[in-house]
Subunit: 356 residues, 2 copies
């Protein structure tokens, strides 16, 4: 038995993750279950949990693996999915979300995680953690399933802001490159700029400007620039990082998720169609499960807020224990390599003025 | 035998479709094969084929079903995929694309079809057919697979123009509604406006303006307005028509296609994984084929140009005979119901000024 050793390792855990236990659709039980799954797999992590203390204590007490690895911070209030970002910024001091970000601000934890309201989380993160020097607009980056060897591409921005000018897009390229290098272990990521065609003359003015800016900076920044890419390349293999504004990126990933979900439904229908197809689905059970794992959004759960003094991981509101655990794994990896410092060095090294 | 009767019907064919036989990736053979497939299924259609006469004559001679149902118009030149729209407009008089549009302009055919360069086709269509009164920006509409009972949603614009202001979006709503009513047989289509969230306060300024315009006009126009929708709703069932600008729409459909293609590849890999899964794939063959038919983009091949004096169907450049035949079926359906006239009446009935 290794229980004794595990317990000893656990106490020496190097990585502290600040977890907003509230605000997800499945309540704190799903979040604590996710922490428990992650704690079992990784001896190096411990948690600061934010939410109503009594409720969290009871949930933690049921998971033996969490014993001695959780600090609980009482936060009686919750940011709801319907709260507007502006309201939240003014009235959020007692909320679990505010408290979770505060732990990163104070240096107690390297990364914060929340399943709550994305707009509110970004607004609070910007106010409390502040933007990195040289960053005008932070971005949310996600990992999108792709036919590249690493299995995923980085895409940003997917919804931090509906706008992005040419300077912002250049910074997104640098931040996305840094994320791909540190999160996907790609030494020289290939970056593409999302447009409606690959010809240089196509697209909006800010895209043509961004094209020139990125082309002029990519050599010194150590990444490859493949130029304009199209929607079909988001899941493809011509680049590893897709740069776009938050409006387009948000519509694109939701379209992709919706399409995948439609195909999944149709696949299940197809296998229910006849006795023969039902038998086939039994035989193919393992293969289909393997497929499900590869394209299951729960297993790549977590948008990362880039461009702030501290890393914040946004998990899906509907995340279950598997989803939360995936987000924690991502957070732990980024914390482990001191990602925020690396990213800050990358963006600060950029010549040229900040846009107003 | 019904051959005699077929022949008689063929000569009385009511619907004439003007077909650009050149410009597709698979050459005129694939286009003529598509015409042949369609001619077999529908006695009511005949064709005017545009391209190098000798080459087309030889190809048509090999298909018995096309006998007596094709006029061939000699057009020695081809618009290539790399030609820029501006160049094409100036130097396209001898091309098959120009000739195909001209047959619609002259009233010889009700609909034109081309597999060629989209930008050039739109530019030529606008110059030669002209915009309908009341339309500032034409749009390209596609049918996107969805979980709605009709199996598809209408989405527009997917790339006629990268811009669209609030007035354009209102007209897209009206044109999309008319297409859904006539192309999908929906008496009262539900229209949604694509945004990054469903809350009224979200999104760009022109979207908020368009929201109000569409809300104010939907009653008299006879459609339901469901308000803002998200990327996930493009393949969903909350609405039948998705309205957006051509930049966002183009990225969205290409993202969806790329994602579907990635899942297809992964599915094939999963079934090749072990002897058991290979056996399963044999048993599931019929079911999987049924699925493939449902989500095969070739079977819904054809973007329709809306807002012009005449209907133009753009088929995928990579369309094979099945794809071309699907585009012809769509074209024949729209021609049969005099879609252009219905659409014109719809958009012209709109109160308010035209934007400059």
């Amino acid at each position: 038995m290794t229980a004794q050793t595990d317990q000893a390792d656990a106490k020496a855990a190097r990585i502290t993750i600040s977890v907003d236990a509230m605000g997800g659709d499945n309540g704190p039980a799903a979040v604590i279950a996710g922490c428990s799954t992650s704690a079992q797999k990784n001896d190096n992590i411990r948690f600061i949990l934010h939410g109503p203390a009594e409720e969290l204590k009871a949930l933690v007490a049921r998971k033996r693996v969490l014993e001695g690895r959780c600090d609980i911070r009482h936060a009686p209030d919750v940011v709801s999915m319907n709260d507007k970002p502006g309201q939240v910024v003014r009235n959020s001091k007692g909320t679990s979300m505010w408290s979770a970000i505060e732990a990163v601000r104070d240096g107690e934890a390297s990364v914060a995680i929340s399943c709550g309201n994305t707009g509110a989380l970004m607004a609070l993160s910007m106010i409390r953690l502040r933007k990195l020097p040289g960053v005008n607009r932070p971005a949310i980056a996600v990992l999108y399933p792709s036919s590249n060897p690493q299995g995923f591409n980085v895409m940003l921005d997917v919804g931090a802001d509906i706008r992005a000018d040419a300077d912002d897009l250049l910074r997104f390229a640098l931040m996305g490159m840094s994320y791909a290098r540190n999160g996907l272990d790609l030494p020289r990521p290939r970056v593409g700029l999302l447009n409606v065609g690959t010809e240089e003359h196509k697209g909006r003015t800010e895209l043509k400007e961004a094209y020139e800016l990125i082309r002029d900076h990519h050599e010194e920044a150590g990444f490859e620039f493949v130029g304009f890419v199209e929607g079909g390349d988001i899941a493809g293999d011509v680049c590893d990082v897709i740069v776009t504004d938050g409006f387009t990126g948000n519509v694109a990933i939701k379209t992709g998720e919706g399409t995948a979900s439609l195909i999944g439904d149709r696949l299940r229908e197809a296998f229910r169609y006849s006795p023969l197809s039902m038998l086939a689905s039994l035989l193919a059970y393992t293969s289909l499960n393997r497929l499900k794992k590869k394209i299951d959004p729960r297993r790549v759960n977590g948008g990362v807020f880039l461009g702030l003094n501290g890393t914040v991981v946004k998990s899906h509101g509907s995340a279950d224990a598997t989803g939360v655990s995936a987000a924690i794994r991502l957070a732990a990896q980024l914390a482990d390599i001191q990602f925020t410092d690396k990213l800050a060095a990358r963006v600060a090294g950029l010549p040229g003025e900040e846009t107003p």
